[in-house]
């Protein structure tokens, strides 16, 4: 479903992604793990048509994101690391707008919206503004929205960041359920190794832009002699802390936190 060969991305001097090769089969849940700044988000951006690769080939359901961006975009749903809901609109309006953007016919759109909002336990709050939602509810709504146009692939970029254990647990239960019932291929990144261990069929670990290991969680544990995926991860990537250079996005993220904190008071 996703096929990546010798993918490279350089920003000026910095090599963000170096010679990355992997394949995700249809119906698989694939976890892409790595320390901060390892190249996870950059890779996702290249897979989802937001960034052009410097070199290498990507095929999403057999299509090249650079040559056929619109066709590729129809085939996936995505939950970004940073929120991308419109907070001034209601849950239902956010879903409806997404449906229009993806050319889902009106009748199907309304049926799918009802189905997904009920599935993610948001139907009762469909007329509430998103700004009144908790972090967990927003995440659920984003995932529900990402599934509205029945994509073949769902990209989840650190979807559980900042959520409490209850919300995290519930979110992964939903994702697994969707994978099993609708056969959606899932490509996820996370910093919580226990989540990856529990949910993913296969795992790839990326560090300094290069893939250092891939296989099932069991294979990685056996390969490193660790008793948990977290242990294997630390053995493969070392224990030094990576300081990601703070870019403009981080500065704005901080500002956003300040602002939303002010609003809640």
């Amino acid at each position: 479903m996703i096929k990546v060969e010798n993918l490279n991305k350089t920003f000026g001097e910095i090599k963000a992604v170096v010679d990355v090769t992997f394949e995700v089969k249809a119906g698989e849940i694939f976890a892409f793990l790595g320390p901060n700044g390892a190249g996870k988000t950059t890779t996702i951006q290249m897979l989802t048509t937001l960034l052009r690769p410097t070199s290498g080939t990507v095929a999403i359901d057999g299509l090249d994101p650079v040559a056929k961006p619109l066709d590729v975009r129809k085939r996936f749903g995505i939950v970004f690391q940073d929120p991308s809901l419109d907070q001034e609109l209601t849950a239902h309006e956010n879903m409806d707008l997404h449906g229009v953007l993806y050319h889902v016919p009106r009748k199907v759109r309304h049926e799918r919206i009802e189905l997904l909002l009920k599935l993610f336990e948001l139907w009762d709050r469909r007329k509430s503004f998103v700004k009144t939602f908790s972090g967990g509810m927003r995440r659920r709504l984003e995932i529900a929205r990402g599934l509205l146009h029945t994509p073949k692939i769902l990209f989840l970029d650190e979807p559980t960041l900042g959520l409490d254990p209850q919300s995290r647990n519930q979110l992964w239960t939903h994702v697994k359920h969707l994978n099993e019932t609708e056969g959606v291929t899932v490509f996820l990144t996370t910093h919580y190794m226990d989540e990856a261990d529990r949910v993913a069929h296969r795992v790839a670990i990326i560090d300094h832009g290069k893939i250092v290991a891939q296989g099932s969680s069991g294979e990685l544990k056996a390969q490193t002699g660790a008793d948990s995926l977290e242990g294997a991860f630390l053995k493969l990537t070392g224990t030094t802390i990576r300081d990601e250079t703070a870019g403009s996005a981080d500065a704005m993220r901080q500002m956003a936190r300040m602002w939303s904190g002010g609003r809640r008071r």
């Binding site: 052009r52 975009r73 129809k74 940073d82 929120p83 991308s84 609109l89 953007l101 704005m252 956003a256």
Partner: protein
């Protein structure tokens, strides 16, 4: 078409739902109306220029539209990182449609804001020459709104963070406002200033508004319409091009 309409509708909905913002953005134009319309009324009369309130009202209407249009365009930076923009950029929709929906929505909102300022001016004592003046004034309001929404989109597409915002305010938006003749007559200026005012797109908008509302034109309506029309087209193309280059 549906996509453009939905994105346009979104901008309008967001505007109508943020009442505090509507009131806040009325503050500045009304302050200028107060200071220049009433505060300088005596000086203006002595100079034989008639009513300063009548003169300044079209200027502050233009100001309201200018600020609203540019802000909606620059809001893009914010939206890009924490908002809905990313959702639209990964949708299977050409960028041009997204840009068109956003920009037209921003322009519509700016015209509504301008109309509110006009109503506030009338409440403050401003009298347009006739009711027939209103449609022509609305045409100029729409032209100003499109020119600056498109410019705002072009700027918002190229800025990386909020730091650039102050720069744009101080070196672009404020000069555009002050050099436009919103607050002073364009006739009899020193050459350098006269040239500067003629390079300012807003001059043509304010001149058109003044022609429509109080029949006082300096540059002339035909020139105003042509210049604003050409600039609107140019900035829309520029905005669309800049928007198509956005990488998240």
């Amino acid at each position: 078409m549906n996509v453009i309409f939905m994105l346009w509708l979104r901008e309008v909905k967001r505007y109508l739902r943020s009442r505090p913002q509507i009131i806040a953005s009325l503050g500045q134009p009304l302050l200028y109306l107060l200071v220049f319309g009433y505060g300088l009324a005596a000086v203006f009369r002595q100079a034989g220029q008639g009513s300063s309130l009548q003169f300044v009202a079209p200027g502050v209407i233009g100001m309201g539209i200018l600020f609203m249009s540019i802000f909606s365009g620059i809001g893009l930076i914010w939206d890009r990182q924490f908002g809905f923009l990313k959702e639209t950029l990964v949708a299977p929709v050409p960028r041009l449609q997204i840009m068109a929906g956003r920009t037209l929505g921003g322009a519509t909102v700016a015209v509504v804001q301008g109309a509110i300022v006009l109503i506030a001016c009338v409440l403050a004592g401003f009298r347009p020459q006739s009711l027939a003046a209103i449609p022509v004034a609305l045409l100029f309001m729409a032209l100003i709104a499109i020119v600056f929404s498109a410019l705002g989109t072009a700027i918002g597409s190229t800025l990386r963070d909020m730091q650039g915002f102050q720069l744009i305010m101080n070196f672009l938006v404020m000069p555009i406002f002050f050099l436009s003749g919103a607050l002073f007559p364009l006739a009899g200026l020193p050459t350098a200033l006269a040239v500067a005012t003629q390079l300012d797109p807003l001059s043509y908008g304010i001149d058109g508004l003044r022609a429509a509302l109080i029949s006082q034109a300096h540059l002339g309506v035909p020139l105003d319409v042509v210049v604003l029309g050409v600039l609107a087209t140019a900035f829309l193309i520029l905005g669309a091009w800049a928007f198509s280059k956005i990488q998240v």
